[in-house]
């Protein structure tokens, strides 16, 4: 794998050069590279290895490929494959297209490093590689992107400090960075250090995963990033957070538990329950916030907050059903996030806007994009027979089986609330009255359609045949010594009942055919234009549909929003806090820096003195 990482670094330069010549060529190169990655991973199913890359000075980076990280590596390669395919056409008018592609390749390198790491140092190094590459990538976006990138970098910095502190504590105690040494000594560690390490690491993971209440960087970063990069952010980079949460939360405690002969860890452990609760809060906050957005990409960003909540809730809950459901939900969310962000990117590519209140009726122009979005949201809302239903069903089964009413309430809240927020873009972008200015919008070019359709096809297939969705994760469960969830080709068995996705698909298909037959039996309808609608006899301009007044879906859920108008918002508190801090520093700035250069010199002397004092004593 270390060779692959060097190849990746070299490829990033090559792709930059190629993209300078022609953007599509660069994107195609990246597509081939990541496609080769996907193929290689699928071929290496069931194999595994560990290798080291010495850095000198006694330090070495360790990589491994095992059952444990196989699905995550595949996820990374897959997201890059789809996005670079999408980028073949989408990058044409972008300002820094070539550097964009080169940085995207570096993201691919960081995928190998983070998911393939077998020691904490490697994990951290590639985490940071990801952070600064994505910082530049985010800042390439639209107007607000510079600020969004700063907020993102700031939050990442906090996460990095927490993570490196945890790692240093581990290294100090065990004398090495390796996972296996830590695993071996986990039980023997003093509980104080152990708790601190776990809390620091999990806090870093939650920040990276965009979980409430440290989710707010997601809104601006996802919303303002370039349209091609948002799918990578949501589909791949927040998964780094889920992965590190999974690594820490589950892997180590479970190893301890399995050694003691326990086959299930449940949320009766206090800390786990608190984390599950944070996941639940994330579901609820993400859902309500998503419903009230009027920018399509910010809406999807908040849906990511909500879905991250499901993952954390399920992983923290810790029964075998919940863990399998949570891991499957990571993959499901990759597909749905890709589907939603790519279709939004496609719309923005043609219309130049992501403001839902401006658009409408685009289905007539962009039927393929509409289909992709429709399938993605059916999966997001967890409606059978698509992939999203399987993972949500498993999580809810786990919660119901153990009688966790409050967590079940949170899961249902997010699930039913998602009908509301996913429908809004459907109604206000693709359906309804089409504004005059969008009359000549065309469907997106071939490669963009292809990328989106692959995602759609996978969403459907994995939904009908959950075996392929769940098998990698039941293998992980065997690997870490958990009782794996029982699955069949199209069925999943829980303690409470069984689920047959193929049957549901066939019955629904049958019902659909019946409807079609009944429809075709009777006389043919007359087609009418979009302005010929019933207005209950009114011709008042605010009701009649003239080309100027086209949109009746502005503030779609305003009445719902009124319910929350007096609720506290975490983001408002952060803003307040930030204002206080900047006031405080303004005082220092006034007294030290504004007057003359002396302030700087003074500060430098103090810093030097402190540093020397620390060094000498």
């Amino acid at each position: 794998m270390s060779t692959l990482i060097f190849i990746g670094l070299a490829a990033s330069l090559l792709i930059y050069a190629a993209a300078r010549l022609s953007r599509p060529l660069g994107a195609l190169l990246l597509m081939l590279l990541s496609g080769a990655g996907v193929a290689a991973l699928i071929l290496s199913w069931g194999k595994g290895f560990t290798e080291t890359l010495p850095l000198g000075n006694g330090l070495e980076l360790t990589f491994s490929l095992s059952t444990f990280n196989w699905p995550f590596l595949l996820l990374g390669a897959f997201v890059l494959f789809i996005v670079s395919l999408f980028a073949v056409n989408a990058l044409k008018e972008m300002e820094h297209g070539a550097s964009f592609l080169a940085l995207l390749t570096l993201i691919g390198v960081s995928v190998m490093g983070v998911f393939g790491a077998y020691d904490f140092l490697t994990l951290f190094i590639f985490f940071e590689l990801m952070t600064w590459t994505s910082f530049f990538l985010v800042s390439m976006g639209k107007t607000g992107a510079k600020k969004a990138a700063l907020i993102y970098a700031f939050m990442s910095m906090i996460a990095a400090y927490l993570m490196i502190s945890a790692i240093m504590m581990i290294a100090q105690y065990t004398g090495s960075f390796s996972y296996s040494d830590f695993m071996g000594m986990y039980e023997a560690m003093p509980s104080g250090i152990r708790t601190t390490v776990v809390i620091f690491f999990l806090a870093a993971a939650l920040i990276k995963g965009g979980i409430y209440p440290v989710h707010f960087w997601l809104r601006s970063a996802h919303g303002d990033a370039p349209h091609v990069f948002s799918p990578v952010l949501s589909g791949l980079l927040v998964k780094y957070g889920y992965y590190s949460a999974f690594l820490f939360l589950l892997f180590f405690p479970v190893m301890v538990a399995t050694k003691a002969g326990i086959t299930q860890v449940t949320s009766t452990d206090g800390p786990n329950f608190i984390l599950a609760f944070i996941g639940g809060l994330s579901i609820m906050a993400g859902t309500v916030a998503a419903i009230l957005q009027s920018d399509a990409k910010k809406l999807v960003a908040f849906s990511s907050v909500s879905h991250g909540g499901y993952v954390i809730l399920a992983l923290a809950y810790g029964t075998n059903m919940a863990v399998a459901g949570g891991l499957a939900h990571i993959w499901v969310h990759v597909l749905t996030a890709l589907g939603m962000f790519l279709s939004m990117g496609a719309v923005a590519y043609r219309t130049g806007t992501t403001d839902m209140d401006e658009m409408g009726g685009l289905i007539k122009n962009m039927p393929v994009t509409f289909t992709v979005y429709l399938i993605a949201i059916i999966s997001v809302a967890g409606i059978p027979p698509l992939a999203g239903f399987v993972s949500k069903w498993m999580i809810i089964q786990a919660l119901a089986a153990n009688g966790s009413y409050i967590l079940a309430f949170m899961a249902f809240f997010g699930s039913i609330g998602s009908f509301m927020y996913v429908f809004r873009p459907l109604a206000t972008i693709f359906l309804g009255q089409r504004p005059h200015k969008f009359k000549d919008v065309r469907e997106v070019p071939f490669f963009m359609q292809l990328a989106m359709l692959i995602v759609t096809l996978l969403t459907i297939l994995l939904g009908i045949m959950p075996y392929y969705l769940l098998k990698p994760f039941t293998r992980i469960q065997e690997f870490i010594g958990m009782v794996p969830v029982k699955i069949g080709f199209s069925t999943v068995y829980s303690a409470l009942t069984q689920l047959d996705m193929m049957l549901i698909f066939l019955v629904f298909g049958g019902g659909f055919l019946l409807a079609l037959v009944i429809f075709l039996l009777f006389s043919k309808p007359t087609k009418v234009e979009q302005h010929e609608v019933y207005t209950s006899g009114e011709i008042a301009p605010e009701i009649s549909t003239t080309p100027e007044i086209y949109h009746f879906s502005k503030g779609y859920y305003r009445s719902f929003g009124r319910l929350f108008s007096r609720w506290p918002s975490v983001e408002a508190w952060y803003h307040k806090g930030a204002a206080y801090i900047s006031q405080f520093f303004e005082i220092i700035e006034q007294s030290l820096f504004k007057q003359s250069i002396n302030g700087f010199i003074w500060l430098a002397v103090v810093v030097m003195a402190v540093l020397m004092a620390v060094r000498w004593f």
Partner: protein, 297 residues
């Protein structure tokens, strides 16, 4: 072959029974309002008339497609609900599948209605989804309690288990109350009829439909009613050991919703949501505490 026969019998039976019952309910409402009301087979006439109309209006492909999806999704859901002792796919009457599969019908209808580009339809759908967010959460929780207590999420088993311990209506009265209120909202009966609100937004989602479209959606609505009331009968009134007992329970529950609805005025939509998140949700959690505390019996 037997399976196909069963499927046909389920669909046709549900159609005939529920359409006749809803026709009869029109008579009940009329009597409450001191009118004579139509004959009970009036709804069959209406549906037939709509299907055989020569003209109907289409607003484009998604307008048609949504209707097929709504009809197909609801018919599919119907086949997973046990009716008395019978079910089409024994062992597959999964509660969570039923409520989510029902959602595909709603999604289809919502898509089609908004696809008509009529502002009233758009407003109606936004209200319907908001209201759904209100009632579905407490309703799902009432069932989660049952699932936990009886260790199964099969609706058929949840119905059968009540012959031993007594109806859930008596065992979990608070849950039953909440579920009944949620049922009224599911059926769109007053005071929870903001999505339709005939005098206010011209029947909301249904405003643009005519001819066979309206006919199909009327049938779809009757099927959805059959599923929703059927869920309540199965979950709280012990289903039925014979078909007749099941249908009698069904008729009583349905007519109760109709009668209560005839006496009510309409909530605003955010009032509906606030209501459902206040009282029913609190009651469900109290019920959960009681069940945890004293167990079943």
């Amino acid at each position: 072959m037997a399976l196909i026969g069963k499927i046909v019998l389920f669909i046709v039976g549900a159609f005939v029974f529920q359409v006749a019952l809803s026709g009869f309910s029109r008579k009940v409402i009329a009597r409450i309002q001191k009118r004579r009301g139509p004959v009970f087979w009036q709804n069959f006439y209406d549906i037939g008339k709509l299907f055989f109309k020569k003209t109907s209006i289409s607003h484009g492909f998604i307008f048609d497609f949504g209707v097929w999806m709504a009809f197909g999704g609801t018919v599919a859901t119907l086949l997973f609900v046990p009716v008395g002792p019978y079910s089409v796919f024994p062992g597959q009457t999964n509660f969570i599948v039923i409520i989510y599969l029902l959602a595909i019908g709603s999604l289809g209808m919502a898509m089609s209605a908004v696809g008509s580009a009529n502002p009233f339809a758009s407003i109606g759908i936004s209200r319907a989804l908001t209201q759904m967010f209100g009632y579905d959460v407490p309703f799902a929780l009432t069932v989660v309690i049952m699932i936990y207590v009886h260790r199964t999420s099969q609706v058929a088993k949840l119905a059968a288990v009540q012959s031993d311990i007594g109806w859930h209506l008596w065992v979990m009265p608070l849950s039953a109350l909440v579920a009944f209120i949620a049922l009224m909202a599911m059926l769109g009966k007053k005071p929870f009829d903001t999505p339709i609100a005939p005098a206010e937004i011209a029947s909301g989602p249904l405003v643009e439909y005519s001819g066979k479209y309206l006919g199909m959606l009327m049938v779809q609505h009757e099927f959805a009613t059959f599923v929703e009331v059927g869920l309540f009968v199965n979950l709280f009134l012990g289903g039925g050991s014979t078909l007749l007992i099941y249908l009698v329970k069904y008729i009583i529950v349905y007519l109760l919703t109709v009668i209560i609805s005839a006496l009510m005025a309409r909530f605003r939509v955010e009032q509906t949501v606030a209501f459902f998140w206040k009282w029913p949700l609190v009651l469900v959690f109290i019920q959960a505490l009681i069940i945890i505390g004293i167990g079943i019996r």
